[in-house]
Point group: C2
Chain length 425, copies 2
């Protein structure tokens, strides 16, 4: 095989015929495959069933707290320490609350809109048309959350080192630009890791931005989700912000959702001491305290063995990502009709088709019984103007299903591309 553009029209027609036949076969098979969501598979969840052996009648936390009763909005010390280890920040900067970082993101962004996090009247919702920078392709739930809370979104392209800093620096001269969403390690979906220079530049942004209430929303969801060890490093945004005098303008989020049990994990938010007080006061209005028994389970289960535990995930995930890479490079590489990421951790592979084909690939996949993340979902308002980005989520399927799903997927990419190419000849 050779590059698609190098094929003669006759060769292209022959290829199209083969692809149409193959596609017809798959479509007749009534497949029901799903590559939509970044969900852990059952064998990954099994790694954490030991959570349920940790209590043994002893509900008392290290500080003497009976975890069964009300209170302690910030969480028990050992759970805060676990969050600190995951996020790479001091435990004193951590609140452990709820089962999801998304809930904490919603709460913090809403707080930024209605009251601010500084106790001095500055708040995003005070006037103007507040907006956040959204590196794209990005995480759909950040977009939905922002839109719901009345924030406009301004896209910034993401590079292999993080958001395009040139674009970012230009945009923050607009005082309506109030913040930036970041997934700094194994970014969803491209899998890139922000470079040290990028982290330093982002930590400084609040002092550079025209808005005096600019906030870095640092969603470190995949902080410890490497496929090999020692872990890939990530620069310490909170320390860099401290040095830059912007520590009150950084909110760090993480969770154990993809470390232990996705539904029954712990959420974390880290911030400066002053901002943490404001978040705690807000939480105190709507909560009688987090589930501290779940916190105790997690601290006992993961304490001192977090990396070993994540190595267990890596052993299950690596073959899936290798399979994806192998099928993509074998089937699309030589034809040169797509580019894709080769992440060393996280949950996704990001693939770009030729412009104008992502939606068609999604349609073809669906007809063949393969659900993929809806094309466009990696952009605010579902609007991928070039219609080319597709997110592959290989974790939930079994290896066998993933193999079939990827074969259908590349077939759909090839078919859509060849049909389009033929229409131009």
């Amino acid at each position: 095989m050779t590059r698609l553009t190098d094929l003669t029209t006759d060769a292209l027609k022959a290829l199209a015929g083969d692809l149409e036949r193959e596609y017809g076969l798959y479509r007749g098979n009534r497949l029901a495959l799903d590559l939509t969501r970044g969900k852990p598979a059952a064998d990954q969840l099994d790694l954490s069933n030991g959570l349920d052996d940790t209590i043994g009648g002893n509900y008392i936390a290290s500080d003497g707290t009976d975890t069964r009763n009300y209170g302690q909005i910030r969480g028990i010390p050992e759970a805060r320490a676990l969050g600190a280890e995951i996020m790479g920040v001091p435990a004193a900067n951590v609140i452990c609350w709820g089962n999801s970082s998304l809930a904490l993101m919603y709460l913090c962004v809403e707080l930024l809109m209605t009251d601010g996090i500084w106790g001095d009247g500055r708040r995003w919702g005070a006037g103007g048309a507040p907006k956040v920078l959204t590196p794209v392709p990005g995480y759909d739930r950040h977009f939905t959350l922002s839109d719901r809370l009345g924030l406009g979104m301004v896209n910034v392209p993401i590079t292999d080192h993080g958001p395009d800093l040139h674009a970012v620096r230009e945009l923050v001269s607009d005082p309506d630009i109030k913040g930036i969403w970041c997934v700094p390690k194994y970014s969803n979906p491209t899998g890139c890791i922000y470079s040290d220079a990028t982290v330093a530049a982002i930590a400084e942004l609040p002092s550079v931005a025209a808005a005096d209430d600019f906030v870095v929303l640092w969603d470190n969801a995949y902080a410890v989700h490497d496929f090999s060890f020692p872990r890939q490093p990530l620069a310490d945004v909170l320390a860099l912000a401290g040095a830059a005098g912007t520590a009150d303008h950084v909110l760090i989020f993480s969770s154990t959702s993809k470390i232990t049990h996705a539904s029954a994990g712990l959420g974390f938010v880290a911030a400066s001491p002053a901002v943490l007080n404001v978040i705690e006061a807000r939480l105190n209005v709507s909560s009688v305290g987090p589930d501290k028994v779940s916190q105790l389970r997690h601290a006992r289960f993961l304490g001192g063995r977090l990396e070993a535990h994540m190595a267990g995930h890596a052993a299950l995930l690596r073959p899936k990502f290798e399979l994806v890479e192998n099928v993509l490079s074998r089937e699309l590489g030589e034809l040169d009709i797509a580019t894709w990421s080769k992440p060393e951790g996280g949950y996704f592979v990001s693939l770009d088709t030729r412009p104008g084909l992502a939606g068609e690939v999604g349609r073809l996949a669906k007809e063949a019984g393969l659900a993929i993340t809806p094309p466009g979902a990696t952009f605010p308002y579902g609007n991928d103007q070039e219609d080319r980005n597709l997110r592959i989520a290989p974790t939930f399927a079994s290896l066998d299903d993933l193999k079939t799903a990827m074969e259908v997927f590349v077939l759909c990419v090839k078919l859509a591309t060849v049909r389009k190419e033929l229409s131009h000849r």
Copy 2:
């Protein structure tokens, strides 16, 4: 002993001398007693340690859901059924989410302010000065939550049968009055149960109110928290609202916080199908699903034995409430210087001193090493205009501590009253 008002001034002075001496002794004892919060005691929490024996490696819900993974915002079927049993509504009307009903109340009231719950533009925050009716004395967290979300509060006296309906009906002719907070069974703090006629009248309120977006906020926190069995009945507000055509204007809240482990329980909200859809859509923006493993634990632990379980709580709580009643009637009854509630369930005893003395009793108690719920806390803005209501929370203390605490408490009531009476003679 006789009624205080019948004592001669000499007898009163003698009594005052005795009380001052006794108070001095207690004050010297450096006590550290606490009757502030409605927290379950450790022996009550022990009743639910069996929660941790329910999983045994089987995380699959009755509908086949792997409870460890993401999703299912409404909760697993058996957890919704548990909420339905507690709240006395059909399971189809229930969302089981989070570890606290307070979080669901905050979410729903905020949703009422910003978007409404009907999908038709009606919302409390659209203009005017939205207010809720607050039966008093009432629950401080309802007040804090309302205030935080920008709602004014208008007090309504509570009777032995629920809120004073005459006052309520008059007040809802104001279109700025948008709702009413209700704790219909073992109301916090008076312990009254709303009569059938009261429940029916409140279910009809949304059709009577001038506001077309009036909502009944029905916090049924103590639905199954009786001291004896069979349980005291409560009329079915959702069915009555259905009959009155107001079902889309009733939100019912409850939780297992005082059934199992206070921090690690389940929150419930019940509403009409249409309203439930709106709440689910809102939750879906900020949540990847509730902790379904906790839901499974609860459903397996309490399924088919809820009343037997609550009888266990009753056996531990009854002696504490009897002790409170005995000390109050022995020490304050004959003197006729206070009135108090004699609840048959719930978590509190409400006591009214003579006007103008509650704050002083709180001060005296604090000085003697006894923390009580801050006087005024049972009123919005902490403002008990008559300065007479005190909430006694006898559940958390041991029986021994409770006995000492109650002796100090009645001593403080007597001392404050006698001092005041002497100043008038």
